[in-house]
């Protein structure tokens, strides 16, 4: 097991490097640059700016310097769009925000999703099943860019219960709407996956044996069925967790949370090269990490899996 983890971490390094190279190539292939504006800058001004950010260097040198700075100083460079900030500043400010609402969304999605899925499976083909399936399909088809304005309309304008946006250091009433908007579609997916895998497990031999032994249903579900039924959910949770804690453009844009989700889109539009790279590397590294954690959790849940 230990050597497996080491092996995976070693492989992560070239994976990240390839990610960096591909992103660099795509980035510079896009027309325009960070300092493209309606009024073309005078040449002297453009030269000064390009020199300041090292953009006058050949591409290979830029990439080499970039990687060197990350490895040696953990420095992701200055933002091109926000002159007073570095990429480290941008991430340090925005990541805790998305981590907070992403984590709570994750908790809500799992608790509600798994409960709905289990309930639907146990009461298969009853009104409860139909209701649970109905809710999860409804939540799945309602995209969060539709959900967000509806939440805003209901809770801020009509009821006046919640502030319409902002973060305020993560005060609870500012976190509610982002969490609802972000968690619903994940919750729906988790409910559907749980339901179908639970149904499959409940029809398997060892559950029949447990029932034959006369064990109470609650014990069968919790002790015997839930764990194997969670395997397909688990492989979904790794990438889903990364997606949640790195935020969502819609949530950030609608609720002005200040998270890093919006930079996925904005930094690309602004050709803010260093921010694009910083976010890409962050998400890439987190994805690698959580996929590894999921694989480890697999081995823990299913004794048949050994590395």
């Amino acid at each position: 097991m230990f050597s497996y983890i080491i092996r995976r971490l070693v492989v992560a390094v070239p994976t990240l490097l390839i990610l960096i190279i591909i992103s660099f190539v795509l980035m510079f292939a896009a027309p325009g640059g960070p300092f493209t504006s309606e009024r073309a800058l005078p040449e002297a001004v453009m030269n000064n700016v390009m020199e300041r950010y090292g953009l006058d260097q050949p591409y290979w040198k830029q990439m080499f310097d970039y990687v060197t700075n990350i490895v040696l100083h953990f420095d992701f460079g200055p933002s091109f769009q926000y002159r007073d900030r570095t990429v480290n500043d941008v991430i340090a400010q925005g990541f805790p925000v998305t981590l907070t609402y992403g984590f709570w969304s994750f908790v809500v999605a799992i608790v509600v999703g798994v409960s709905l899925g289990v309930a639907a499976a146990i009461r298969h083909n009853t009104w409860l099943d139909y209701l649970a399936v109905g809710i999860s399909i409804g939540a799945q088809v309602l995209p969060n860019f539709v959900m967000a304005p509806i939440l805003l309309l209901v809770f801020t304008l009509w009821l006046g219960w919640l502030p319409g946006g902002g973060w305020n250091g993560g005060q609870w009433n500012y976190v509610i709407m982002p969490v609802i908007a972000l968690s619903t579609s994940y919750m729906a997916s988790i409910a559907r996956i749980t339901r179908s895998s639970m149904l499959e497990v409940l029809n398997s031999g060892f559950i029949r044996t447990a029932r034959a032994k006369g064990l109470p249903t609650s014990r069968i579900i919790i002790r015997h069925a839930l764990k194997p039924a969670m395997l397909p959910v688990l492989s979904y949770l790794g990438p889903a967790f990364v997606a949640m804690i790195t935020g969502s453009v819609v949530v950030d844009v609608y609720f002005s949370t200040g998270g890093i989700g919006q930079f996925f889109v904005n930094s690309a539009f602004n050709r803010d090269y260093s921010v694009i790279m910083g976010i890409t590397i962050l998400v890439g590294a987190l994805t690698i990490l959580f996929n590894l954690l999921v694989d480890i959790a697999y081995a823990w849940i299913d004794p048949k899996i050994r590395y």
Binding site: A44, V49, Y82, V90, T156, W167, S256
Partner: protein
């Protein structure tokens, strides 16, 4: 002075001081309008995006400039109508040749840490903008202002000391410009030319604008800045005219989505926000006192690619003329935009002070007459059913640009049988496409840098780097050159517009308007200030009856 008058003067001074104290009081009234003031003087408004910078010498966007005008103060300010009025300088003198401006600074102006504001601070600030090491993208504005040697200094070809700005003494600043520019004093209201506190900048480097470090000289100081969320500024007790400030706290909330912003405005979280395109008529009906529209100094136009890479047809003025005539501006302004914008037949914004729109034949025709003329001209140029003209319209991705492009292509098709295809491109790609003349017809928008027609008309000159259509007319170039030195350039500017209209250099479509929701009790908003250079210290919140 007798004892009695001394006493009276003393009492008056005490009363004025008291009035200042009483501003926050519920019973206070505005000293000029006499309106009762609300007990809470807090102004909250929405901005679209986070501020790329709030460092005056680096700022290049409108919302950053709004913050800078509150936090800092330049030599001159603008009043509600856009006239230049004293700021840190009490006034200025111009040399006979119009090249040397001597500003006298007030001795009461202080930085927020108590240091006096000196001429040296302005020299430092302006040099800082030009300094290649600062690498300010807005260094070009010093060239617009015409400060002597600005481009050479920015290019690193001359030392900073050669820049046309020097301190004669602590309270006297001399600025030399390269040619007479009547609009020069107005450029001093722009953040690029603001003073800077050298000790603070040298101590904190790039972090000098953080709330805990910043030293500023305006009516407000920065109290809080959470990137992507909000920026808060509070009254600056060290400001020389602090007694006249009424608003205690100003908050800019960064809300990307304009519909979300509108909902939050309606929920009472904001005093001011923009109205999303197309919603003005509905909101005006529901909230007649809050939905407002006033001119905004930008013009919307379509440009033709007249360079060698452009289509042959567009080199023919008759074709361009026909395409321009066939665009029914009234439909675009009234049905597509519906926010108080004005149809445009010339480029310069109609509301520029002192500007008189020349008589352009097209402007007074009916649309039916225009269409008839357009058909004729296009046929003359050799295009028709047997030889149809096909064009591509490029615009940057946005709902309203798309709506206008659809309308224009329909008008061209119905009136002229022109087959226009539409292509939308993401902003940076679009600018590249346009800048490299890699298009046929493209959307353009231009906003005034200063309130004078040349800010628009310079785009018609052959050498302008913003002339993406590559329009070129020797007479226009000569007229614009002549206008620089003319005592009354208006007729020259009018002639340029006439020539550009006759050549159909561009298709002017409409003149912008600011379309906003504004709380009924937010008072003194300078709707007459065309460049929308507003200062929070001029605003106040009236008590609701």
């Amino acid at each position: 002075m007798t004892i009695k008058t001394t006493l009276m003067a003393g009492t008056a001074t005490a009363l004025i001081a008291l009035a200042g104290q009483a501003m926050a009081d519920a019973h206070a009234v505005h000293p000029v309008t006499g309106q009762a003031l609300a007990s809470e003087q807090v102004f909250t408004y929405r901005v679209l995006d986070d501020f790329p910078s709030i460092d005056p010498q680096l700022i290049q966007d409108v919302s950053g400039s709004e913050v800078a005008r509150d936090l800092f103060e330049g030599l001159m300010n603008e009043d509600a109508e856009g006239n230049v009025i004293p700021g840190v300088a009490t006034g200025f003198e111009v040399s006979d040749d119009g090249l040397v401006y001597t500003f006298t600074l007030r001795d009461t102006a202080k930085w927020s840490n108590g240091d006096p504001v000196t001429a040296g601070d302005f020299v430092y600030g302006i040099r800082r903008a030009a300094n290649p090491e600062t690498a300010s993208e807005y260094a070009w504005f010093l060239e617009v202002a015409g400060i002597l040697n600005a481009s050479a200094v920015t290019a690193g070809e001359m030392p900073l000391e050669e820049l046309g700005v020097r301190a004669i003494d602590d309270l006297t600043l001399e600025i030399t410009i390269d040619a007479p520019r009547p609009y020069f004093p107005q450029t001093s209201t722009f953040p690029t030319l603001f003073p800077a506190h050298q000790a603070t900048i040298e101590a904190f480097g790039d972090n000098w604008t953080d709330p805990e470090n910043i030293v500023s000289n305006g009516a407000y100081t920065l109290s809080e800045y959470t990137p992507q969320e909000k920026l808060v500024r509070v009254r600056n007790p060290m400001y020389w005219n602090n007694d006249a400030t009424i608003i205690e706290e100003v908050t800019a909330l960064i809300i990307n989505d304009e519909n979300a912003a509108l909902t939050r405005y309606l929920a009472g979280e904001l005093n001011m926000t923009d109205i999303p395109a197309g919603q003005y008529p509905r909101l005006k009906e529901e909230y007649p006192d809050q939905a407002i529209s006033f001119p905004n100094s930008c013009s919307y136009y379509y440009m033709f690619n007249m360079s060698d890479s452009g289509p042959e047809a567009l080199a023919d003025a008759r074709v361009r003329q026909a395409l321009s005539l066939a665009v029914d501006r009234d439909i675009i302004v009234e049905n597509v935009l519906a926010g108080g914008q004005r149809a445009a037949y010339t480029f310069t914004h109609w509301a520029i002070p002192g500007w008189e729109v020349p008589d352009i034949p097209m402007a007074t025709m009916t649309q039916a007459e225009r269409n008839a003329m357009a058909v004729e001209l296009l046929a003359e140029a050799g295009y028709g059913t047997d030889n149809p003209l096909t064009l591509e319209i490029v615009y940057n991705t946005s709902d309203s640009h798309a709506a206008i492009a659809v309308a224009v292509s329909q008008m061209w098709k119905q009136t002229l049988g022109v087959e226009a295809t539409l292509a939308n491109q993401e902003w940076a790609t679009f600018l590249d496409t346009r800048g490299e003349q890699n298009y046929e017809v493209a959307r353009g928008g231009w906003c005034a840098d200063y309130a004078e027609p040349s800010t628009y008309l310079d785009l018609f000159t052959t050498t302008s780097s913003y002339n993406d259509g590559k329009y070129s007319n020797a007479e226009v170039d000569a007229l614009m050159q002549e206008a620089k030195l003319a005592s009354d350039p208006l007729p020259l500017y009018q002639r340029v517009e006439e020539i550009a209209a006759a050549d159909a250099a561009i298709i002017p479509v409409y003149h912008y308007a600011s379309v906003r929701m504004m709380s009924e009790n937010l008072e003194n908003w300078p709707t007459e200030n065309l460049l929308q250079n507003w200062y929070s210290r001029d605003l106040y919140i009236s008590a609701s009856e």
